[in-house]
């Protein structure tokens, strides 16, 4: 598989920081075309800053970012932004249009897409996220999860190659979170979308092919979700909420029950519990 994102020795510092104080320190990683990568880490660990460096919202002090074969520079930044769709944390603060369909059309308007094509693309995108009956609604009358799905529809309509989710589900209730995650999984199944999700949510991280752990501006660990989740209580230190199955395992261990060390999904945990009680 070819690499769609390649980040090499990226250093970043905010303008107000002193010269030896970096927010991102020598970060290098690459993402394969069609891969789903989760970036986890504490608040202030630099993961959002990293995302903004990838689509040129912030410019690094040193190091290079290559997206789909193009090195990110002032000249290529608008081409690269066309290839990357980004969904942010606060559903309200990224809703530009006065109605749902206006918001979905915003990226298309920016690209100068002809109106006839816009109409079909907006309609199809809204149908795909199951929001077509809300097309003329105003944002004030939508829930947080619905607004995030509208944001995703905006991405679908613009047809990016990469989707970056910057804690896109963190302000939603469990139902909204579930709906958004399901929509992303559907989007990924329908096109060869690459997903980069920055998250605290264990379910979101578990959907990924690979997890990168960022701590204090450095990439400290990377691996498959199952490998990362094995750390148990140490996960909290990495900025993830511990999955339910892991919390249960830790509690059982304290009670003196022998538990498997590798990561189990909730279903795997249930199966293991069944076996445990039938062995006795």
């Amino acid at each position: 598989m070819s690499q769609i994102i390649d980040v090499a020795h990226l250093n970043y510092r905010y303008p107000q920081q002193s010269a030896d104080d970096l927010t991102l320190k020598d970060i290098s990683f690459s993402v394969a075309d069609g891969e789903w990568v989760a970036i986890v880490g504490h608040n202030g660990s630099g993961k959002s800053t990293l995302a903004k460096n990838i689509n040129g919202l912030l410019a690094p002090v040193s190091g290079t970012v290559t997206v789909d074969g193009q090195v990110l520079t002032e000249k290529t930044v608008w081409d690269i932004r066309k290839k990357i769709g980004m969904v942010f944390q606060n559903p309200d603060n990224q809703f530009v249009g006065a109605t749902v369909e206006d918001d979905v059309a915003f990226s298309l308007e920016n690209q100068g897409v002809p109106r006839d094509e816009m109409l079909t693309r907006v309609h199809d995108a809204l149908a795909q996220v199951n929001m077509d009956q809300f097309a003329t609604r105003e944002p004030a009358r939508l829930s947080g999860g619905q607004k995030q799905r509208v944001a995703l529809a905006g991405m679908i309509a613009a047809r990016p190659r990469i989707l970056i989710l910057d804690e896109a589900t963190s302000m939603l209730d469990p139902q909204g979170r579930y709906d958004v995650l399901k929509t992303i999984q559907q989007m990924k199944a329908q096109s060869d979308l690459t997903v980069l999700s920055i998250t605290h949510d264990i379910d979101e991280a578990a959907s990924a092919n690979r997890v990168l752990v960022v701590n204090d501006g450095r990439l400290v660990e990377e691996g498959k979700p199952a490998e990362i989740f094995k750390h148990g209580p140490a996960l909290i230190k990495m900025g993830l909420d511990m999955p339910y199955a892991e919390r249960l395992k830790a509690a059982l261990k304290r009670q003196g029950v022998q538990v498997p060390t590798d990561y189990l999904t909730e279903k795997g945990m249930a199966d293991w519990l069944w076996q445990l009680s039938s062995n006795k």
Partner: protein, 266 residues
């Protein structure tokens, strides 16, 4: 809090007036304010009233909305009318004279005319805002300002700002409500005490509101840039306005009204 303000509120409906092109509505409303000044005798004012009431009837919006539209401005209107009655040039029969104050027949008639003008203007502009969604009005303003592009006036940017401002009104109202509740929980009394105490109570409301608005603005700007916004040039438009036969007919009816007024004026 804002529910009392009729001016600037949209009442959804399905009438001919609702379906008119917002450009036509906006321009004709301004035109109407202009031709009110042609009227200078009873027949012309009667014609204007008949025309306005007919337009209101066509819109199917309840009369009470229009009466309520006049209410908040009634003191301003009465003040102007009284000034006009007391200080305007005297003519006709003089009823009362004391120093510079004169109440004459002409003064009274002028006062009534001014009252009529105010009511007509308020009725017509209320009709415009009650039957046109704010977003359509901002589209109309964009089209109408288009000639200013020649002098490099940022028409697209202003129109986008206007539509974003409108879109954030309910969001900021919610936010205000939330902050008010948070401050109430900390013991701030809103709407109590004398005017100075009430004004002081607003400060702990305004400061958090400002801070959060700036944060929102920054987030929004980031999101817009991430979605490829590079300024107004080269953008295509999703929402378009269509001039239809009914808009032409409305224009014709206003032209006819103008002719009738010119013929009937004294």
């Amino acid at each position: 809090m804002m529910t009392k303000l009729i001016f600037g509120r949209y009442i959804p409906g399905n009438s001919v007036i609702h379906h008119m092109d917002p450009r036509a509505k906006l321009l004709l409303s301004f035109y109407f304010i202009g031709i009110i000044f042609i009227a200078n005798n009873w027949p012309t004012y009667v014609i204007l009233f008949v025309f306005t009431l007919l337009a209101i009837k066509l819109s199917g919006v309840k009369w009470s909305f229009f009466i309520n539209g006049v209410k908040p401005l009634i003191w301003l209107i009465l003040f102007t009318v009284i000034l006009q009655v007391l200080f305007s040039a005297s003519g006709g029969h003089v009823y009362f004279k004391w120093g510079i104050i004169t109440i004459s027949q002409l003064g009274l008639v002028n006062g009534i005319y001014i009252f009529c003008r105010f009511v007509l203007i308020i009725f017509m502009s209320t009709l415009l805002t009650l039957t046109t969604p704010p977003l359509e009005l901002s589209d109309a303003i964009e089209y109408i300002l288009m000639p200013l592009k020649v002098v490099h006036f940022p028409v697209y940017e202003v129109a986008l700002m206007l539509s974003i401002a409108l879109r954030f009104v309910p969001t900021l109202m919610d936010e205000t409500e939330k902050i008010m509740n948070a401050q109430r929980a900390r013991g701030v009394d809103f709407g109590e005490g004398n005017i100075f105490q009430q004004m002081r109570a607003i400060v702990p409301l305004l400061i958090p509101l400002f801070v959060s608005s700036f944060n929102r603005a920054e987030d929004l700007a980031t999101a817009m840039e991430a979605r490829g916004y590079q300024g107004g040039e080269g953008r295509s438009k999703f929402r378009i306005l269509k001039w239809q036969a009914r808009d032409s007919w409305a224009t014709v009816s206003f032209a006819a009204l103008t002719i009738v007024l010119i013929v009937l004026r004294a």
